[in-house]
Every structure is written in structure tokens, then in C-alpha cells.
């Protein structure tokens, strides 16, 4: 269950090959790669900086993977998230899941990404022609999270400010 926070880029083929090496019980591999877009909220994005909370980041990703493994019968999970300076076209995140059958891998991969978007302590700061700005959390990400029966606890929605931990899912 490798989890990597790194500034370096990653290679999808290499990572997937490593994940399923010597695992003949694997029948399905689902991988998601998130990349940097050149436009956000109508403005051209020249570059961005990804900040995180070292220590908590790894713990929260581990908790997310543990929850996925409790829900679905998975063989292995890999999460790579980059931090530091990034520019359009760059890869940001890789989530790869292996399982015996495709249903589990598809569901778990999407679950992990939805969870990561609202729970893992990463923050994006964009450079645009109007200057630098911190990216706002998206309500759509909370809604994606809610599909799994979990309240994100992310402020920005009406009910989410100052939630006690039992309501954070």
C-alpha cells in the first residue's frame, strides 16, 4: 500500500507494472491521473504551487486507503501526490488500485480520489495574469464525497463550518 508525497514526476506504466508484479491474483487495474489544467474559473493559469501538511498528509491518505480496503476487496493500492511547483500539463496525482474483478477497482479508485479531494491537507496556489491566488474548495467535490455517504466537513457548504469530528466522517 505505498503512499508517496514527492516533488518528482511519475510514470504511469512503471508504477502500474510495479504494483501488479508477481500478483497473479490481480484481474483488474484501475488508475486515475490528475493533471494541471491551463484554465481555472475563467483565467489562464501560468503555474501553481502545491503546499501540504507533512505528517498529516501521509496519515490522512493512509486512513483513506484503509477505508477503501474496508469497503472493497482490494489487492493493492498506490497513491502518489506531487507537491511544490507545477505547471499546466504536469501530472499531479496518481491513484492506482488492483483487485480480482473490475467493479471493486473502479469503485475504490473513484472513492479514494473523492475522499482525497476533501480530506487530504493539500492546497493549490495559482499564478494567473491577475496575480497569485489560493484555489477555493469546490462544492462539487463535497457532493462527490456525499455520494459515498460521507459528509466532507468542508466549509463552503451551509452545514460544514466548525463540525465536530464525528460529523467529519
Amino acid at each position: 500500500m505505498p503512499i508517496h508525497i514527492q516533488t518528482e514526476d511519475f510514470d504511469l506504466s512503471t508504477e502500474v507494472a510495479r504494483l501488479r508484479a508477481n500478483q497473479p491474483q490481480v484481474g483488474a487495474v484501475v488508475a486515475f491521473v490528475g493533471t494541471v489544467r491551463d484554465m481555472n474559473e475563467g483565467d489562464a493559469v501560468a503555474s501553481m504551487e502545491l503546499e501540504h501538511y507533512p505528517g498529516m498528509t501521509e496519515k490522512s491518505l493512509q486512513a483513506i486507503v484503509d477505508q477503501a480496503r474496508a469497503r472493497w476487496d482490494l489487492i493493492d493500492v498506490l497513491v502518489i501526490h506531487r507537491v511544490g511547483p507545477l505547471k499546466p500539463l504536469d501530472q499531479i496525482v496518481l491513484v492506482a488500485v488492483t483487485s480480482r474483478h473490475r467493479g471493486e477497482a473502479f469503485a475504490a479508485c473513484e472513492f479514494i480520489m473523492d475522499y482525497l479531494k476533501t480530506q487530504a491537507p493539500f492546497w493549490k496556489k495559482e499564478q494567473t495574469a491577475q496575480g497569485a491566488r489560493w484555489v477555493d474548495a469546490r462544492v462539487a467535490d463535497d457532493e462527490a464525497m456525499a455520494r459515498w455517504g460521507i459528509s466532507s466537513g468542508q466549509p463552503g457548504t451551509d452545514s460544514a463550518i466548525g463540525l465536530p469530528p464525528e460529523e467529519l466522517g
Binding site: 490522512s60 501526490h81 479531494k117 487530504a120 492546497w123 477555493d136 469530528p165
Partner: protein, 85 residues
């Protein structure tokens, strides 16, 4: 009680500090009370940590709520809603 307090992203920038050790008064026992205590510094502290502001809290590197208890040597963090992925 002595704790470490950490700030990230826009909260860190607005406050102009990433981390500090704080000696809490005796009546401060929870993450929410730490937030109230820091807000009493006034100025940008009152603004950034105001109730109703989109702010997330963590205690010992786990998401926390206002009622989460804090203990000697603990680590409280304040940051905006997360935007990774």
C-alpha cells in the same frame, strides 16, 4: 499547558507565521477554545480565525472539531478547506 500551533496556505500567509509554541491559559481545553484564545489577539487574528470563516482544524494531525480536547505537547493546526488532487 504548552502546545504547538501550525498554520497552512492562505491562513499561514494572512497571519504571517507558519508555527509557534503557545502557553495556554488554564481555561483553554479544546481546539475551539484555542481558536477563541488566538482570536483575542485582535487584528488579523480576529479576522482570519473569526467564527463562520471557512476554516478547518486539526489536532495531532487528524481533522478535529471545536470540541476536540487538547493536551500538553499537542499540535493544533488551522487551515483553509483543502484543494488537492
Amino acid at each position: 499547558m504548552n502546545i504547538q500551533i501550525r498554520f497552512f496556505a492562505s491562513v499561514r500567509e494572512a497571519l504571517g507565521t507558519a508555527q509557534e509554541g503557545v502557553d495556554l491559559p488554564e481555561h483553554v481545553h479544546t481546539v475551539g477554545e484555542v481558536r477563541d484564545f488566538l482570536r483575542q489577539r485582535g487584528g488579523v487574528w480576529a479576522e482570519v480565525l473569526a467564527e463562520g470563516r471557512a476554516l478547518r482544524m486539526a489536532y495531532n494531525q487528524q481533522m478535529a472539531g471545536v470540541a476536540t480536547p487538547v493536551a500538553e505537547g499537542g499540535e493544533v493546526a488551522f487551515f483553509p478547506p483543502v484543494t488537492g488532487g
